[in-house]
């Protein structure tokens, strides 16, 4: 497997009015094409910063970031992103929210008017896969938090991105909805096979979904452990209660406890 995302010895220091904040120091990480990677670590260690680096929204102070063999030196123009806050546009209905990326990203933006009907069908199909069939014409305020998060996920996926960046997308949801959305994400990933980098605080979530879990140190962050999750796929929620699974979760937990102490 060739590395799709490569972060090589990257440091990043935020310049602020009250002094410089070193957010990342010597982070090295690589994610293969089609891999599901999770990043966990103590709060404020630079996980969100890492996401911005990979997507080219901020440049590194030191080191090199590359995507598909190309050095990243500006916004990458292809990544789908979703955050803890769904941040949907309240004046657009669900379908038009999902279609937003197609109005922006190449090459769809030039075809958008001409092929609107086909895109609409595509959006409705995607909404159906996350369990939102029949909600396309509703407005965001008519949806529950979990439903809004599904829409946000669809918006991140509609242009079939090669790279999906998720920053604590399920953190604000209740346990049942969260587990349901794990399965949604798992199924979409199996079906389309894009590369995912998922930032999360939930170690069970990281273990259940990913191929590799990367543990970051406290700020300034760097990757201290990369744990391969060699559980068989496709995984079912029942796996969360098996000893192999819990062993990995415990291992990760103690690793994070260590880095927080350090």
């Amino acid at each position: 497997m060739s590395a799709f995302v490569e972060i090589d010895g990257v440091s990043l220091t935020y310049r602020g009015a009250t002094g410089d904040v070193p957010a990342l120091a010597g982070t090295t990480l690589s994610v293969a094409r089609g891999e599901f990677a999770a990043v966990v670590g103590p709060s404020g260690c630079g996980k969100s910063t890492l996401m911005k680096l990979v997507t080219g929204l901020v440049p590194p102070t030191l080191g090199r970031v590359a995507l598909a063999g190309q050095a990243v030196d500006g916004p990458v123009k292809l990544a789908g992103m979703a955050f803890q806050n769904p941040s949907l546009l309240p004046w657009r209905n669900v379908r038009d929210n999902v279609l937003l990326p197609l109005e922006v990203v190449e090459p769809h933006r030039h075809r958008f008017r001409a092929e609107r009907r086909q895109y609409k069908a595509q959006a409705d199909e995607l909404l159906a896969t996350v369990g939102l069939a029949g909600f396309a014409e509703r407005f965001p305020w008519e949806l529950s938090g979990g439903m809004q998060q599904r829409v946000s996920l669809c918006r991140a996926l509609i242009h079939q991105p090669a790279l999906l960046m998720l920053d604590e997308p399920f953190a604000a949801l209740d346990a049942f909805t969260r587990e349901e959305l794990w399965c949604v994400l798992r199924d979409v990933w199996h079906k389309i096979g894009f590369t995912v980098i998922l930032v999360t605080h939930d170690l069970r979530e990281a273990t259940f979904l990913s191929d590799t879990v990367h543990v970051m140190s406290a700020r300034p962050g760097r990757i201290v452990t990369s744990r391969l999750v060699d559980l068989p796929r496709p995984r079912d929620l029942a796996i969360c209660y098996e000893p192999d699974f819990t062993a990995i979760v415990h291992e990760l937990r103690s690793r994070i406890a260590e880095v927080r102490q350090a």
């Binding site: 080219g56 929204l57 916004p75 123009k77 546009l89 937003l100 990326p101 991140a156």
Partner: protein, 262 residues
């Protein structure tokens, strides 16, 4: 359907009328009871009689004030939106222009009227310009605020798709300034009205401000008050119109903030 709920809703609808009528009754009673000199404070009955008697000049001057206000307001809206978008577009422009605008806004516009008269002579032009100068500021501030308070995460989502700044403005920035803009219009129209009348009072040969100054120097107190009444009616009508337009145009903003609060 609940009868007592119906009645309380009725009462709520009628209450503005009831309170207005009550105020006039109280005013009338005070004037009669204490035998107030109509030269100091005419009773409402006398004011209304004067309105009926002088309806032609009152109507004619009301019309002049109405159109000068509207003309100044229209310029303020066009100018305010453009300047607001420019100011909200870039931090540098925002930083540079803000103190200038605050300084400009804190100059009492009455002080500007004599200058305008020297430039444009006595008449409608100074009234229009005063209305414009006094009312554009809240529009600029609100439009700029609408742009500046855009969720950074949404901006990240779009930038990671390769959106240009113009895309972000068109898809997100400008639509989301709408409720801010419409909220500012009802403030701005009242200010424009004040500006027009102030200018007419100082230097004009038509308009309600002019009418009242004239009537005052001729000691026609009931006519002065008839002018005041016409001002109040016109002011309320314009405010109500823009409040209604606001409600109509930005329904989604009311809904979504309601759901966010719930």
């Amino acid at each position: 359907m609940n009868k007592s709920a119906d009645r309380s809703e009725m009462l709520e609808r009628l209450s503005p009328l009831l309170f207005t009528a009550g105020m006039f009754l109280l005013w009338e009673a005070v004037c009669r009871l204490f035998k107030v000199d109509p030269f100091i404070l005419p009773a409402p009955s006398e004011v209304f009689a004067a309105m009926v008697q002088y309806w032609r000049p009152v109507l004619r001057h009301s019309y002049v004030t109405l159109w000068t206000t509207m003309a100044g307001f229209a310029i303020a809206v066009a100018f305010g939106i453009v300047l607001g978008l420019i100011v909200g577009w870039s931090r540098v422009i925002y930083r540079g222009l803000y103190p200038v605008m605050v300084g400009f806004n804190s100059v009492p516009k009455v002080a500007v009227v004599p200058v305008l008269v020297i430039w444009f002579g006595i008449g409608e032009v100074p009234a229009i310009l005063t209305a414009f100068l006094i009312s554009f500021f809240p529009i600029v501030v609100n439009v700029a605020t609408g742009l500046a308070t855009m969720e950074p995460e949404l901006e990240d989502v779009l930038r990671a798709l390769g959106a240009r700044k113009m895309d972000i403005m068109l898809k997100v920035g400008i639509p989301r300034t709408q409720p801010y803009l419409f909220a500012s219009l009802k403030v701005a129209i009242t200010l424009a009205f004040v500006g027009a009348v102030v200018s007419e009072t100082i230097a004009a040969n038509a308009g309600l401000g002019f009418l009242m100054t004239q009537a005052g120097s001729n000691f026609q107190m009931p006519l002065v008050f008839a002018g005041l009444m016409a001002l109040a009616i016109e002011g309320i009508a314009m405010y109500a119109l823009f409040a209604l337009i606001e409600k109509r145009m930005t329904r989604w903003a009311f809904r979504s903030s309601m759901s966010a609060a719930g």
